[in-house]
């Protein structure tokens, strides 16, 4: 891995994701700061808005130098380059204004006015929207595989390139998100701010669960890029990326579960355990390291412009952990035991969800919410168990699951929505204070229905896999 970029294009790929995807996370924390009236979160966001604005300089310079290189490439259309440049310039200008405004508010004595806070929110949101447009134009420059047209004969077996596109968008969330979440988490530890600690831990949980659709869309993208084959794309390089993605999934699992346990336990103990907080920090740093290597290997699949002379790319498509696991799990003696664990997992998830959701909806009003909240770790451990077993089962026949089975995509979409919504049960103060005999607030009831629908959807879509 060469994390220090050795070309302008490589620097542009690495740095440009922060003012776009990174900005979304700062925006999320900023909104959390506004809603919870947490001054530490708000001020941390001011600093980060300013830092992201500073990144406009390397983003612009590396972009202009990359343009010089791409202008010589006959496969790159000049109008696409110009559109990306023009919109990019506009987005960076608004980003700089946002950063400067945040810096001015930071330096002002006293609390910023409500109006100033709202203006900053509007500026950051506008920057993010512009950055999204610029990013989409950026893909078009050299991701020509996204526009690939297959012949009618190839149509029956070809996987839609939309999967490659979705994977390229999704994979930036756990990677860039972890950098941003770690930054906020370190600030929270240094400032000893419980609100920021909870927000950062919740972000780790969400990012960990986003790892599931990222991994699955990666498998679909693999088929989109290899059947029918694209000459410049190597299955061996893809497998090297998949192997590292497997380790990422483990890292995300450990970080996500450890972070969630701390959010859950905080409710009962009323403070965080220093040991657990530093354990989450260690998991997050290790996971980020693994993800950096995964991302780098992913970049090598279809970015020849970032290759350097010392790069030794794999050439054997049968080498590595993923092909070996595929062979192993295809043996019924391995598949059936893990499938049974998967079934135990979803019964545990659904049982937990049903009990908690029914209490919120008004069943068993004699039970305080804190009593049913005690059951949540059963469901969370079962989710971790099922992500692992589900990944193993998917490796038995990725093509069938991700390309041929129509209910696999909705099943995978329901998982992050259902898991993220469950976080609300541990984060809502109103819900936590719900005593025996009291009715839950309407928002909690809406979230409860969403959770129930999502997990019922996961089970139903999973059961329908062999038939649709």
């Amino acid at each position: 891995m060469h994390l220090i970029p050795q070309s302008w294009s490589h620097l542009h790929i690495l740095v440009s994701v922060f003012p776009s995807v990174g900005l979304l996370f700062v925006l999320g924390f900023y909104i959390t700061g506004l809603v919870t009236k947490n001054e530490v979160i708000k001020r941390s966001c001011f600093v980060l808005f300013a830092i992201l604005a500073l990144l406009a300089i390397p983003t612009y310079l590396s972009g202009v130098r990359s343009m010089d290189v791409f202008s010589q490439d006959p496969k790159v259309t000049q109008s696409v380059l110009n559109a990306h440049y023009g919109w990019g310039l506009g987005a960076l200008a608004v980003l700089v204004i946002t950063g400067a405004y945040a810096l001015i508010e930071l330096w002002r004595t006293g609390k910023p006015s409500e109006q100033a806070l709202t203006v900053l929110l509007g500026l950051a949101a506008a920057t993010f929207i512009l950055m999204t447009v610029v990013d989409e134009m950026g893909w078009e420059i050299n991701h020509h595989e996204l526009q690939r047209v297959v012949t009618p004969a190839q149509l029956a077996t070809a996987t839609p390139q939309a999967w490659s596109h979705v994977h390229m968008i999704l994979n930036h969330f756990p990677t860039v998100g972890f950098v941003m979440a770690l930054t906020f988490y370190v600030i929270a530890l240094v400032a000893n701010n419980d609100g920021l600690k909870r927000a950062s831990l919740a972000t780790f949980v969400i990012l960990s669960i986003v790892g599931v659709p990222t991994y699955v869309t990666g498998a679909a993208a693999m088929w989109a890029l290899t059947v029918p084959p694209i000459p410049e794309i190597s299955k061996a390089v893809i497998n090297a990326h998949r192997d590292m993605a497997l380790w990422t999934l483990f890292g995300l699992g450990f970080t996500g579960v450890a972070a969630w346990i701390e959010v859950w336990r905080y409710r009962y103990i009323g403070r965080f355990s220093q040991t657990s907080l530093y354990l989450v920090l260690a998991f997050a740093i290790i996971t980020l390291g693994i993800m950096a290597e995964t991302g780098h290997r992913g970049g090598q699949i279809n970015h020849p412009e970032i290759h350097v002379a010392t790069d030794v790319l794999p050439t054997d498509p049968t080498a590595g952990i993923s092909p070996a696991l595929e062979l192993l799990i295809n043996n019924v003696i391995w598949f059936v035991p893990w499938q049974t664990v998967h079934f135990f997992g979803f019964t545990l998830i659904f049982a937990t969800v049903l009990i908690v959701v029914l209490r919120i909806l008004g069943f068993w009003k004699g039970v305080p919410f804190s009593a049913v909240h005690r059951l949540l770790p059963i469901g969370v451990l079962a989710v971790a168990m099922n992500v692992f077993t589900g990944m193993l089962m998917m490796l038995a026949d990725t093509y069938r699951y991700v390309v041929n089975d129509y209910t696999f995509a909705p099943k995978i979409a329901f998982i992050p929505i259902g898991a993220t919504a469950i976080l609300y049960f541990s984060l809502s103060d109103r819900l936590w204070k719900l005593k025996a005999g009291e009715d839950a607030p309407p928002l909690a009831k809406a979230v409860a229905i969403l959770v129930l629908v999502c997990w019922a959807g996961v089970i139903a879509c999973g059961r329908l896999l062999p038939y649709l």
Partner: protein
């Protein structure tokens, strides 16, 4: 027949290990908050 027995043994072994580990983790986690619960 031998294959079926092997599959059954593997199902029992894998599930016993995973579920026992999950049970121990849950037990310890619950015990840790017992003294603070209302």
């Amino acid at each position: 027949m031998t294959n079926s027995v092997n599959i059954l043994l593997m199902v029992l072994a894998v599930n016993a290990c995973v579920l026992a580990a999950a049970f121990v983790a849950l037990y310890r986690l619950n015990k840790a908050v017992d003294q603070f619960d209302r």
